[in-house]
């Protein structure tokens, strides 16, 4: 699979004696929505951290669009088109929703050593930001301070900011965490629409959403890939059921 957009090879990360990523290898071809599931502590967020460059792997390499990005700093990966949404909402709370997204647009509109013009009046920043807000259904809340938005709206805004950087690939870290059923359903609709144009790596606990959206699923347990394949194959995989789905099923349906 030489033409996969994201290629992970033998990625390993240790924290003291704990192996958070144990020789993870994974290919995500362009256009795929690839979900990563696994119990708490499986190393999902650690994996995302290494992909975005916030964590340095101890071994292994990451390729994006053929280029080795293992050693690139965070902002350079973002410039290449790898965008991330955070598991724990990480926004600019004292800015409005529109300001937040406009900052994301600005990050990809050349350097910011521009000292004079009022950035809030620049249509080339504000218009794409409004468009991104519209795509996640937050247009009506554009001028509200982020500190005053609801949790569900924060999650939507996270996606809008990732979108506004004009990415080729989205890394979504539990976009549905803490959402009610209604908000989750709306997020699933948003992601389904995005799936048509973007490659997405989705880390998510909400099994219903994962099986509804994913083209392929990788199961991570104790930092190790125990299975990878189409949703149906994963559902039938005995090892997966034992390690993870079984107990989850009890939680979901119990």
């Amino acid at each position: 699979m030489a033409d996969a957009l994201l290629q992970i090879e033998g990625l390993t990360k240790r924290f003291g004696g704990v192996i958070a990523s144990d020789e993870i290898s994974l290919d995500v071809p362009g256009g795929e929505l690839h979900a990563i599931i696994g119990p708490n502590g499986a190393g999902k967020t650690t994996l995302i951290g290494q992909l975005t460059g916030e964590l340095d792997p101890d071994a292994g390499r990451i390729r994006f669009d053929g280029a080795d990005i293992t050693a690139l700093p965070v902002h350079r990966r973002s410039q290449l088109g790898l965008a991330r949404s955070f598991q724990i909402t990480s926004l600019f709370l004292d800015f409005t929703a529109l300001d937040n997204v406009a900052l994301a647009v600005q990050a990809h509109a050349g350097h910011s050593f521009r000292f004079w013009r009022n950035a809030r009046h620049e249509t080339e920043l504000r218009e794409p930001a409004r468009a991104a807000l519209q795509r996640v259904g937050l247009s009506a809340r554009a001028d509200v301070l982020v500190a005053n938005l609801s949790h569900g709206e924060h999650r939507q805004l996270e996606i809008a900011m990732a979108l506004a950087t004009g990415p080729r690939m989205l890394l979504l870290d539990e976009p549905m965490a803490g959402m009610g059923p209604e908000e989750s359903a709306r997020m699933v609709r948003t992601l389904r629409a995005l799936k048509a144009e973007l490659t997405i790596l989705l880390v998510e606990h909400d099994m219903e959403a994962v099986f509804a959206l994913a083209d392929r699923i990788t199961v991570l347990v104790y930092g190790r890939v125990i299975a990878s394949g189409a949703p149906e194959a994963i559902r039938r995989n005995a090892e997966v059921r034992e390690a993870y789905l079984g107990e989850q099923q009890v939680v979901v349906h119990g």
Binding site: H75, S90, F92, A107, T165
Partner: protein, 315 residues
């Protein structure tokens, strides 16, 4: 909200008119003490405005900001002593040295955050303080008298107190305007975003360090200008002008006036220094009154005086 915003606008307008008309009052009454006091206030308001740029907007709490007043001032003092009195040489050189010093301090200190940043900026300020104490040729601990103010040929005569006051006032207004343009520009958005959430800024693609460092250097240069003016105002420079308590005063002005507000530092400088003047006339132990007053502002007016005027609205 509109009415409240007007209340703030009104106070700022009255303050600006007062500052603009003050020399007429002193000329009529012959009370030059007020002009001297307010020249000092205006100069320190420039320093406070520059601190607000990094501290209020950028979240970089520099506890060594008075060092730039000292650097700017000492360049004037040393050049004057060495017989170079031309302002056309003195002023650009003073600003350049302030900028370079800020570049060195910023390049190291901006790699840290929070308390460590505060401590490193303080350490640099202490270092430059003791360097000044050790300059035997330039007065050491006792300081250095400047016998000739900066010479600007026939253009400006800084020895004219009224003219000098107006020069300071114009430079203050310029500094406030420049800061206002800066913080609302793309550059300013990066600085403010980085205060709010630096990690996220990097993850959406900003190399934040270089922007923060640039901001730090701009603020250091502005504060160097305040030092240039202060040296010309008092005809004297000494290590005391960059003592760490002076850096503390600047922080108090910004917090008192209102962090991340356009006119906050000016309001804070006026409030603190006028209060200091009035209280010290009442009692020798004026700090016992000033302390609790500051405490009240910090506890009950998070946005400082400017925040009170705006009724909780920021901007």
């Amino acid at each position: 909200m509109n009415r409240l915003a007007t209340r703030r606008g009104l106070v700022v307008a009255v303050l600006m008119i007062f500052l603009a008309l003050l020399p007429f009052y002193t000329a009529i009454t012959g009370n030059f003490f007020l002009l001297t006091l307010f020249t000092r206030i205006v100069i320190l308001a420039i320093a406070a405005t520059s601190l607000n740029l990094i501290m209020g907007y950028g979240g970089m709490v520099s506890f060594g900001h008075a060092a730039y007043i000292g650097v700017g001032g000492y360049v004037i003092g040393i050049l004057a002593k060495e017989g170079i009195a031309s302002g056309f040489v003195q002023w650009p050189l003073a600003l350049a040295v302030s900028a370079l010093f800020a570049l060195a301090v910023g390049a190291l200190s901006l790699r840290t955050r929070g308390v460590y940043f505060i401590m490193i900026t303080l350490a640099f300020a202490q270092m430059i303080y003791y360097v000044a104490v050790g300059l035997d040729r330039y007065g050491g601990d006792d300081g250095l008298t400047i016998y000739r103010r900066s010479q600007f040929a026939d253009l400006l005569n800084l020895s004219n107190r009224t003219l000098f006051y107006y020069l300071c006032l114009v430079l203050l207004v310029g500094t406030i305007y420049l800061t206002w343009r800066l913080v609302n520009s793309r550059f300013g958005m990066v600085i403010q975003g980085s205060r709010s959430n630096d990690r996220r800024m990097r993850s959406i693609g900003f190399p934040t360090f270089r922007y923060r460092l640039t901001c730090f250097v701009i603020a250091g240069t502005m504060c160097g200008l305040a030092g240039v003016l202060l040296a010309n105002h008092t005809d004297f420079v000494s290590p005391a002008m960059m003592h760490w308590t002076r850096s503390g005063d600047l922080i108090v002005m910004v917090v008192l006036g209102g962090m991340a507000s356009t006119f906050g530092p000016l309001i804070g400088a006026v409030a603190l220094l006028v209060l200091e003047e009035v209280l010290s006339g009442i009692t020798e132990y004026w700090q016992i009154i000033l302390g609790p007053l500051l405490l009240l502002v910090v506890l009950f007016a998070r946005g400082g005086i400017d925040g009170l005027l705006a009724g909780g609205q920021r901007g």
